[in-house]
């Protein structure tokens, strides 16, 4: 900590630890008020944890046990999602979800879910017989005989939502410190001093613990050992856009003790998503995929949908659920200066807008004094604004902005102008994966084979760094080692 001695440490009204969807949504909610806000993130970009790799389902809210925080915030959050997605310019679609049943026992479980959903306040639920089911969704497995239909279920891209929420907070004045791994928190009488492992520090009148799988570690730093987090890994397969139309709804099987099981769903971006598995593990940063996990998914898909061409896989990935030992979300203050948002496993994405509002309330209850600003800007320009223009409008825009006519990513048709905008606009994309998360370049079937060299050049040029310093995802994830023998003269 000596590095910080003698230096003036900046004080914020609220410091949020973790730039996942919870931290980002909270920052945006707080930026509606007159106050200084800083978001701390250990990685090189927002959405580095569970908010990068999950199912992207905005759950209707029938799965959670009534009276739990999960149930309350899921239903509230999913009701808020359409408007927030619209304001943030993030594609969201209410495609509805189906839980399939295969026999009479399953039908009983579906009826239970139906009643649970009613009690939680979910609108529009209905139980369908086999025929109605197939009318609604032709590709469902022939073995399904009944289903619970939840028309308010939706899909959204979780990392686009997270980045956009943080961007909106930043548009409204919030600050974002990256590669800031909180390692120690000291409390004095009117603030917390929060230290990063590299010696940097900030002061906070109030702090929010939204550190995902690390939230129990953050709690320990302020002396709270009342809960612990047990990561549970979920692996996925993502299929080519050609397959995005195979199903229209998000399809689950009846849940078992192990959880909601494997789903088949279109994504908000038009791909087809299969997964997740559920495997307990100790490590908090191991998001490896495994042959067993991926095979498990493939083995189960036919029970849900017919004609899924597993050959069309374009990538696989895994995310860690931050499951708390309490089984529910932990959203509560600890002593006088910190609010925890811990154990935010599924349906945390769906619940995030409502959790953010609740965290703000809890901060006010702790004594944070502020008032709403008149100049809060709710709307944020979508990363997709250019793509959505018609041919004539594009043509007119390119006349003044020629970079938008240079296509860099062939598979997703992303122009240099859009990539530069992602690199320049807050939260700035500083690495290849960050550009990909904002623009979808490299997300298509060639997985960046063609476009990544050009994006690497743009990242180097815009940041004024040599090509060898450009990374895939921050830290030591360099893409090139050095110049070639003749490269110096190239």
């Amino acid at each position: 900590m000596s590095a910080a001695k003698g230096m003036i440490i900046k004080m914020y009204d609220a410091v949020i630890i973790g730039a996942g969807v919870i931290g980002a949504m909270t920052a945006r909610e707080l930026s509606k008020y007159n106050m200084s806000i800083c978001v701390l993130e250990r990685s090189n970009d927002a959405a580095a944890g569970a908010s990068r790799a999950n199912s992207g389902i905005v759950h209707a809210g029938f799965d959670a046990k009534p009276k739990t925080l999960k149930a309350r915030f899921n239903v509230e959050g999913s009701e808020m999602m359409p408007q927030i997605a619209e304001e943030l310019g993030v594609p969201y679609r209410q495609n509805g979800s189906l839980v399939l049943g295969y026999n009479d026992d399953d039908r009983k479980i579906l009826e239970l879910l139906y009643r649970q959903g009613q009690e939680n306040g979910v609108r529009g639920l209905e139980i369908l017989g086999g025929e109605e089911l197939r009318k609604l969704e032709t590709a469902v497995s022939r073995s399904a005989v009944c289903a619970l239909h939840a028309p308010t279920g939706g899909i959204i891209c979780p990392y686009e939502l997270t980045v956009a929420a943080l961007g909106s907070a930043m548009d409204n004045g919030a600050e974002f410190l990256r590669n800031f791994e909180v390692s120690e928190i000291l409390e004095d009488k009117d603030s917390l001093t929060i230290y990063a492992s590299d010696g940097r520090s900030v002061k906070a009148r109030y702090a929010v613990n939204a550190a995902g799988v690390y939230s129990d570690k953050i709690a320990r730093m302020v002396g709270d050992d009342s809960f612990s987090i047990h990561p549970r890994r979920g692996e996925y397969l993502l299929l080519d856009k050609d397959c995005g139309g195979i199903v229209d709804h998000t399809i689950f099987k009846v849940p078992t003790k192990k959880g909601k099981g494997i789903l088949v769903s279109p994504t908000a971006d038009g791909n087809l998503l299969l997964g997740p598995t559920a495997e307990e593990q100790e490590e908090r940063d191991n998001t490896d995929t495994t042959a067993a996990g991926l095979n498990d998914i493939i083995a189960q898909i036919n029970e849900e949908a017919e004609g899924v061409p597993v050959r069309a896989v374009i990538t696989s990935f895994a995310g860690l659920r931050a499951a708390a030992d309490t089984g529910d979300f932990i959203i509560r203050p600890y002593k006088t200066r910190m609010v925890h948002a811990a154990g935010i496993e599924s349906p945390g994405l769906s619940a995030s807008p409502a959790i953010a509002v609740r965290i703000a309330e809890l901060l006010f209850e702790l004594g944070l004094k502020t008032e709403k600003r008149a100049d809060f800007k709710a709307e944020r320009k979508s990363y997709y604004w250019f793509r959505r223009l018609g041919a004539e409008e594009k043509d007119a825009y390119i006349k003044d902005h020629p970079d938008f006519g240079k296509i860099v990513c062939r598979c997703e048709t992303v122009s240099e102008g859009e990539i530069l905008e992602a690199i320049r606009r807050e939260p700035k994309a500083l690495d290849l994966d960050a550009v990909k998360r904002r623009t979808r370049s490299g997300m298509g079937r060639c997985q960046g084979g063609f476009c990544s060299p050009r994006i690497v050049e743009l990242l180097a040029r815009e940041q004024g760094i040599p090509i060898e310093r450009v990374t895939k995802s921050g830290g030591g994830s360099y893409l090139n080692i050095c110049r070639t023998k003749g490269g110096g003269q190239a």
Partner: protein, 417 residues
């Protein structure tokens, strides 16, 4: 928006597009335009700075860029207009081409279109290799671009998965740059690359080629730290207990090329599930009249010389189409037996002339016979001392043989002997 009418649009300015343009010009087309998304023509040849190109076409060994220059020169001599930095976004079935570049969006009505978009490399995701997602995993072509076009070395200790030609070439290239290539793993019992590349790129540098091996896990959080490789059985499944860890900072993938047919799909053109390219007739016309395809977008070639030959045919056919259409006789469908994986063309539309049929086999064969059967008659037979999936074969059916065919189906069969 810029609206134009042009007789012939050629999509792609790689070796196929340029050769098609030159041939169309020489067959009388004057009003034409080549659209190329890169800032230069030449396509993938620009980064293939090794030699071995042009032996068939020009009778001498050229490097990739030199081969491209030959065609760029021919196109320049004919004043063929080429628009670079221009990406075609859509081709409609009635041959309206929408393209974008830094001047804006253009809509071009064409009388004929030649598709020559090339191919892309299969990525890691398509292979489903489990493990972490560190940096340091590249397709061989991406690494080739970093090294040869940008002048950067992507890694020092390398494992290569797949013994396709680009992988073999990159094994040598990385070695010459001072990197250590520890192994080339190939899941099949034979390499899919050209025999000469195995000799010149691996054997000459003592790089081990591990046949029947694949990468079963990748390791490393930020940058790749190593891979696990395993032996595979006859069904290409990893054999438990054969795992071997190799430390490396780079994994290059050379596991196949896939024709880039997004535009063809958009135009509603029928595709061949085996080649991944369009179904074409002997003129290289697709199922969409007036739209032709050639080069790696049609099927993956191992030698550019054959790309040029095919493209010249497509360009000449497009010219015939523009000046009055192509005759359709009683068409013949070519049916490979599976041992013969595919044929190009898949269809013969007119039986007036000799047709050269290209094909690839599915395995390594010695002393086999290829037969072409129509109804109960064998109209053609030829012995092959050896055949391998890595090398394209061809045979010529004469107009006389075709004229004899009573049945609409031509079966291509590979037999022992």
């Amino acid at each position: 928006m810029n609206r134009e009418q042009i007789d012939l649009i050629i999509v792609g300015g790689g070796p196929a597009g340029l050769a098609a343009a030159v041939a169309a010009y020489d067959s009388g087309v004057r009003d034409m335009l080549v659209l190329e998304r890169d800032v230069n023509t030449g396509g993938i040849l620009q980064q293939c700075i090794h030699n071995g190109f042009g032996l068939h076409r020009f009778g001498k060994e050229l490097t990739g860029p030199e081969y491209a220059w030959e065609y760029e020169r021919m196109a320049a001599e004919r004043n063929i207009p080429i628009r670079c930095g221009t990406t075609v976004l859509n081709v409609s079935p009635d041959k309206v081409v929408t393209a974008v570049n830094s001047d804006g969006v253009s809509r071009i009505e064409a009388k004929a279109v030649v598709l020559a978009m090339g191919c892309r490399e299969r990525s890691r995701g398509a292979l489903n290799i489990p493990g972490s997602r560190p940096s340091g995993i590249f397709t061989a072509g991406t690494a080739q671009k970093y090294v040869n076009c940008m002048g950067y070395l992507p890694g020092r200790e390398v494992v290569i998965l797949g013994s396709g030609d680009i992988g073999l070439i990159m094994a040598r290239r990385m070695t010459l740059e001072g990197a250590k290539v520890k192994a080339v793993c190939e899941i099949m019992p034979y390499s899919g690359g050209l025999a000469r590349n195995i000799r010149q790129c691996l054997d000459d540098f003592d790089i081990p080629l591990k046949l029947r091996h694949t990468v079963t896990a990748v390791h490393g959080r930020e940058r790749l730290t190593g891979v696990t490789i395993s032996e595979t059985d006859e069904y290409r499944r990893p054999i438990p207990g054969t795992e071997e860890y190799i430390s490396c900072d780079t994994l290059l993938l050379s596991v196949g090329l896939i024709p880039e047919n997004e535009l063809s799909k958009g135009a509603g053109i029928s595709l061949d599930p085996i080649t991944g390219g369009a179904v074409v007739d002997e003129k290289r016309q697709t199922s969409c009249p007036g739209i032709f395809a050639c080069g790696n977008v049609l099927h993956v070639h191992d030698l550019v010389d054959f790309v040029s030959e095919e493209a010249a045919l497509a360009g000449k056919s497009a010219a015939e189409y523009i000046s009055g259409g192509l005759d359709e006789g009683a068409p013949l469908d070519l049916k490979p037996d599976g041992k013969i994986r595919y044929t190009i063309p898949q269809r013969i539309a007119s039986r007036d002339e000799d047709v050269k049929v290209y094909f690839r086999v599915d395995n390594i064969y010695k002393n086999v016979k290829i037969k072409v059967i129509n109804g109960d008659k064998t109209i053609f037979a030829k012995k092959l001392a050896a055949a391998a999936p890595g090398e394209m074969e061809s045979l010529t059916l004469t107009g006389a043989q075709l004229a004899e065919c009573g049945d609409a189906k031509l079966e291509f069969v590979l037999e022992a002997g």
